[in-house]
Amino acid sequence: MKDERKTAGQALPAGRTHRVRCTLNGKPREGAAESRTLLSDFLRHELGATGTHVGCEHGVCGACTVRIDGVAGRSCLTLAVQVDGRRVDTVEGLARDGELSDLQQAFRRHHALQCGFCTAGILMSCADFLERAPAPTEQQVRDMLSGHLCRCTGYTPIVQAVLDVAAARNKNT
């Protein structure tokens, strides 16, 4: 594989692989991707970060949601080459030193997951959302969660977990 220089304005031709470098969960990573490779596939197949799940591949289900430069978005509607030089955070980066984050612990406490397929994406949305809206109303949480499909929980325990984390964080500050 030829190591391409990623200067803006330079074409990355179809049918060849290109080197994509990003910071995944705080660590520099690189791998090969075609220009058409979706970020979701790049994460799972090239970088081995299989915590991010792939559901519908057209932006509806929310399972593949990751944070790009901190902002929650669909990795199935993002090209791998678009994250070159950027920060990508996935569910693997939430726990610190083997300890679940407060958000993950709340999901566990409230039984906010059953099969867990949708959970990785929901956690990444919540992580971004709670930084921007630290004291959300239940309606705001439900609006944010409307971008995710969960077929197990009926959402109520997820809403409770998110509100619980927000309340705990506000108490501690």
Binding site: D41, H58, L77, D143, G147
Partner: protein
């Protein structure tokens, strides 16, 4: 559900976009937020040979008030406009409409100009642009031209943009004094495509109503302030002019019924807000 192969170019600025659009024309597609485009690429409904990515063009990533309008550059995300602290004062209609646009995660990456470029008949941002009589600025190596929303939207997913043109920015007029705005939408699920959507602006002497999701493009009508029964008749007549079609989601009759309900509600809310605005003034 994977895109066909294409060349990819990450652009730095508008001039580079115009050069490459002049070279590739219709073979190229402009990638901004990708929230509609990558979907259709994944489904292979579109197979462009080149993708020109404007999403990291810093000079195009802005929203600012210029000459009585909120101007939004090609790379600015919907979220960047939605989370503007002053949006409800600047363009209240947009503040009303954003919550109906897909979901938080999609608005984070989707752009305002991209939605206008895509011109889905049920999309909220084109409807707001049409209702407010906003502008689309098209750039190419031939120069810049500014079109009114009325001239820009030409049909289902069809606009006046030529193959070598980039939507450099769109301009939403700021709130008019003494005018109230409202947005109402019905869809099968929250954030889903609108089956019908109504935007209204009501001032002391005029009612402006826009309808999305029914005709092949946003449809706008303007009336003087009418008494209730005349307004109901006018809305009904307008609903019949939209050429509603039966499809898998709703019958034409149901769509007309939605238009009657949503329009009446939007106009009533906008009128109440206009009253509030003039009391404050």
């Amino acid at each position: 559900m994977k895109p066909a192969a294409f060349d990819y170019v990450r652009l730095e600025d508008e001039a580079q976009a115009c050069d490459l659009l002049a070279r590739h024309g219709e073979e190229a597609r402009v990638l901004a937020g990708g929230q509609s485009l990558i979907t259709v690429l994944n489904m292979r409904l579109a197979q462009p040979s080149v993708l020109l990515d404007v999403s990291r063009c810093e000079p195009l990533d802005y929203a600012k008030v210029v000459g009585g309008k909120l101007e939004v550059g090609a790379a600015a995300t919907q979220a960047s406009v939605e989370w503007r602290p002053g949006l409800a004062d600047e363009v209240p209609l947009l503040a009303c409409a954003f919550p109906y646009i897909s979901h938080f995660q999609v608005r984070n990456r989707g752009t305002v100009c991209g939605s206008v470029a895509h011109a889905d008949p049920s999309a909220e941002l084109p409807l707001c642009l049409a209702l407010l009589d906003g502008e689309v600025v098209l750039a190419s190596r031939r120069g810049r031209r500014t079109l009114s929303a009325r001239d820009f939207f030409q049909g289902m997913l069809t606009t006046a943009r030529a193959g070598d043109e980039l939507i450099a920015c769109v301009r939403y007029p700021l709130r008019a004094p003494g005018t109230g705005y409202a947005f109402e939408e019905f869809s099968l699920r929250h954030g889903d495509f609108a089956i019908a959507a109504c935007a209204a602006a009501v001032s002391q002497d005029a009612i402006r109503l826009g309808v999305g999701g029914v005709a092949d493009r946003p449809a706008v009508v303007q009336w003087p302030r009418l008494p209730r029964h005349e307004l109901e008749a006018a809305i009904n007549d307008f609903a019949w002019t939209l050429g509603a079609q039966d499809d898998a989601h709703a019958s034409a009759a149901y769509r007309r019924r939605l238009v009657r309900q949503l329009a009446a509600r939007a106009i009533a809310t906008a009128a109440a807000r206009a009253q509030g605005a003039s009391n404050e003034g």
